[in-house]
Subunit: 380 residues, 4 copies
């Protein structure tokens, strides 16, 4: 499982992160460097398991990072802050300072910034130009665009939210697109025909990292055992940027829709019970999710399952983002297009048709690996 | 899903319970009567879901109950005690008093009782005679023997433990056998050749009802996500007969082996951590299971999942026992023999070869349903 | 601790419950009858412990129940529903049917009902007349009025909410008053001068039964140990009438104010963190409260305490209500008036000045017991 | 609350730690240096709250550390390991390297080491000589000896365990003694007459840091509310040296006795339920304690409280050890002798007579502060 250095002739693949200075993006970039340097095992990366051997995925060392962001804090400084908060190992930021600086040099201003006078099409053009410039300067074979920015409020009206502007730019620049957030992205009606015409693969949306990951195995368990869920309630406590952005009820609503969809899909109907997302700044990037599940057993006996999940969201998301960058790059190389429904394993609200139970999603992913193994690639 | 009354011509199937006056058996018998009478929906019974439509399973109303036990407390009285403890709904014992009395009349003394002078082969003969007598008097097409007695200590030496005497009697009487406990039963070397020669189907062992059920979905989740388990610890608190018998360290060891096997099988190796089973008489038949799972995420980030399961063991076990009685009866009718590995869904330590993850076990069970649909039966 | 029958000459004391057909009131009335009949020990009643021996409290058998309510469901039927939900023991309602019917006959219509044309002073007069009538017909020495109705929304403007109309009626009829809810009651500015003039004892408000009870011992623990609370978050899940009424954000806000006050008072400042109250009808009268407390230890080490409380609110409240009825009756008998600050043990938001830590409140209550022992009474 | 530098004339007080290279001792020494340098606030130290203002306690900067240990790992290296495990803040060991080295230079070999040929009295003499040498070389006014070594198995027979040898040495050298562990220490019958004759103050035993701290506030809560505990069960998961030493059943038994005593003392009787201590090396110095408390409410309603405590034992213990060193030094200065029962706040199994509820123990401690304020001291 130890990553190999990129051979001189291995094509280089761009990974373009929307929200490139956020916690998730910083952990992705730092983590890829740490793994390439052999400092840590690839815990949490499914593409580093034997399932994906011989599938022609780009190596970790062939990945080149860049992205858009609206904030200025340089990646090395952001990484130090994450290390202080226990998200990155102490000492890692200095060990991989060169890689952080290299990625930081490839981050371009996002938008629209406050006071920005550019209209939507000007913004899309600017973002697409950034992508084409990245390809040209770095000699990349292809670039995958991944949205890992904070959740934006569910849009009202027909205006394109920022996430959709970035998605349109990916289409314009011929880049496959992955939406790791519940934001609109490619799902906007105004982008539908362009998305079809582009014949690019895409995946999303809303990475399944913690409470919903659990729900995607517990929901099927109750359904398969014919146990009747009476109520499923949940509370999430988190700080960091994600906590603050989800304190906005509109953003929280977008997030919760995905959580509830998993239950409705696996149980057959949405049960009673609410989901709360509390911004608790003191918790930093650490998230605690408590679920309380009241269910009926035989003859109406009342039983309860409670789960408490204490995790670091960025550390849970980062290996999935690296997996997705590699998988979608490989799909693009192999000429696949449209929704990659076999990647439902990674998402709360997967594109295309596919199962909602994690076990079945894993089987679909394994099938995708087999399919990739048989598909042509430039390097094989 | 409402059970139909048995047609006049429908063959009757015997369900012979070892430990027939225990909490599980009483809940099985009372529950079957309650469902047949339309008093409760069949919550927890997988054989009542659409998966098993048209599979030729015996109806609930065709089941006739009997069994062995070493205690005297009549079933109606036992049922009243369970209702007082909240295991059975208040009022149910009186509503189905006739069925409880009918089953109680078919319970024969188990053994060996203290001071019993019969040797093993005499005991086996006596138990087998009880089974043949049950068939004859009640006009049964077949009888399934199910062990739902308290866990017995892991045997030392070559002597046959009681559970194996009952299993030998089932073989002698030509009855398929299901071991719902971690006791030895048919797994004794001395029974191996007789078991092969009998060409009967069998299933087991150790019903998967609570903490281990959870582990069989959580273990695969961690494995599929390539997350590294650092330690998995658990404590079970329970009263009732099961709590008392598991207070015996040898019985607890037998029970725990199954729990740990599920983790080792789904995670690839047994993690650090112990499992405790505490007898807490004040909790009666209610069981609380706490699990603490320490795992590593990306870059070694330390995370924790805790689960607390509060359930009634008898109510969790009873629908599975009814499922198994129907499935194994149907397998026998269809001429299947040997270990029914497709029933691993129900067990901690399944016979035959099969997956350890609940989702895959459910898929195997669904395959079994399809197979049954195509197999001949007397009634089809 | 076994209750004695009322001697023929013992004065009878009225207990007038606002919300007399609710879960709490029904449990109070049924419980008092069950204890008087010797069917159950007085678990949860502090006034039945040795602390209050020789304090001259009215006996349980001397209490006569009545009250106001706006709903019609008779107490015996309400008690059956509570028994079906596990709040009252099965069989209790029929065992004490006579007492439930007697109390039901003393319940008068509350108000204002929808379409009620009476103005505030007419309603107060009518309620006060009900109280005087109760005293006269039943030959009572005194009547304590206790509000155990559902929480009403925090009032806007100067209009008297219903709880204050009942409190005004108590003043008018010369009855001591206890507010077991967060509703306004006697705390309305318009009642301030009448309350002072009445020279009656009063107590409140908002009974401390579950999550806040815990907080009143955990908060002091952290403070005494000089540990720094970083965030204290909580979620309450409950069904029943209380769940439904607290689903109203205004009512929940009134409730939460009390919960937060306990933390602010014991910790010195209100910590980060929210409190949620979810209406989960499936849970009935059972409440689950989860608290997550993030705190700093020595050198900033981050630690966490979580608590999960699963209780039946009516069963937690009822013995406190009986305690309060007896204590406030005795205070009235002894000529005490004004806020009974020694009863802070029972409340989230106590009247008068007193400590917020439960242990200190218990010491104050013990001091009150000593004081009562020395005070004159009609019966001593 | 910021610590002041020791004035030139302030007497210096020795703090002699048995187990001076363990996690607790290292955290004590590093923490005192960090606080003296103003790097951290004194979280967790009660002696730094206003309660102890003007009580004449020695300042933190006046404390001089030394001790006995049987292991060689130097304190600076031990501190680095603790920082890597998250017990000490990253960067602290290097910031206070000089203080760690100074303390390390005062650590003398403990015993008996394997193969040690010295008999008990030779060992006691050697340890006492170490203490006298420490006083002389460092010019100390007095030395407090505190046992913070790993729990030793409950002794069998009359042989003096190591903890008692160190205690005897403290007596011989005229040093007050504090036992922060459940080990025997001064509680050995063979030391009884010497202890009386020495007229020194002493305190102990077994620091109350986590699960038992919680129990000392929850037990009184249930008792004061007259709620009936049906069963109180607990599981502790911990790694580090303490986890390993408590994996020895005899050591665990010594530890558990203290935990159960707190429940028996606050509830009036020991409830049903066991306590487990599991060695889980993966958890390092972090401890998780789960408690499950089944209790009866009014009319026998069954309710449950669960608590999960996740803390770092060394960080919980260290501020208490510093408190005790200062308090016992001051007591010695003031001429107090014998068991300091007012320090029960700190212990699971306090010496002398005193309350078991934390709130009452805090009141006793506050009384002790008042008493100290009035007592003479060399510096006042």
């Amino acid at each position: 499982m130890s990553p190999m250095p990129a051979s001189l002739s291995e094509p280089r693949v761009g990974v373009w992160l929307i929200g490139a200075r956020g916690s998730v993006a910083t952990t992705v970039i730092a983590g890829c460097a740490a793994l390439t340097a052999g400092l840590h095992p690839p815990t949490g990366m499914v593409t580093e398991t034997s399932l994906f051997a011989e599938c022609g995925l780009p190596t970790l060392s062939s990945l080149v990072f860049g992205g858009h962001d609206t904030v200025d804090c340089p990646l090395p400084k952001r990484a130090e802050a994450l290390a202080a908060g226990g998200v990155l190992p102490p000492g890692l930021p200095s060990a991989i300072a060169a890689e952080l600086e290299a990625a930081d040099a490839e981050i371009r201003p996002g938008g629209p910034a406050p006071g920005d006078t550019r209209d939507d099409s000007e913004l899309v053009d600017a973002f697409a130009a950034d992508l084409r410039d990245f390809v040209r300067r770095r000699g990349l074979t292809r670039v995958v665009v991944l949205n890992v920015a904070s959740t934006e409020p569910a849009p009202v009206g027909s205006a394109l939210p920022p996430s959709s502007l970035y998605a349109a730019a990916a289409l314009a620049a011929g880049c496959p697109y992955v939406n790791f957030t519940p934001s609109t992205g490619l799902h906007h009606p105004a982008l539908a025909s362009a998305a079809r015409a582009a014949r690019l693969p895409y995946a999303g949306r809303d990475g399944k990292t913690g409470q919903t990951l659990l729900r995607s195995v517990l929901g099927p368990m109750f359904a398969q055992r014919a146990l009747a869920i009476r109520a499923w309630s949940g509370t999430n406590l988190l700080g960091g940027g994600d906590g603050a952005s989800l304190a906005d009820p509109a953003a929280a609503a977008a997030k919760n829709a995905g959580k509830e969809r998993v239950l409705a899909d696996t149980l057959g109907a949405a049960p009673q019970g609410e989901v709360h997302i509390d911004d608790v700044p003191a918790l930093g990037d650490w998230k605690t999710a408590w679920d309380h599940i009241a269910f009926d057993g035989f003859l109406g006996t009342r039983m309860i399952l409670q789960t408490t999940w204490q995790g670091c969201d960025s550390a849970l998301a980062a290996p999935l983002v690296l997996d997705l960058a590699r998988l979608v790059s490989r799909a693009h190389e192999a000429g696949l297009s449209g929704p990659l429904s076999e990647l439902g394993f990674y998402f709360k609200d997967p594109v295309g048709d596919g199962p909602a139970a994690l076990g079945e999603q894993y089987a679909a992913l394994a099938g995708f690996a087999l399919r990739l193994r048989a598909l042509p690639g430039e390097t094989r």
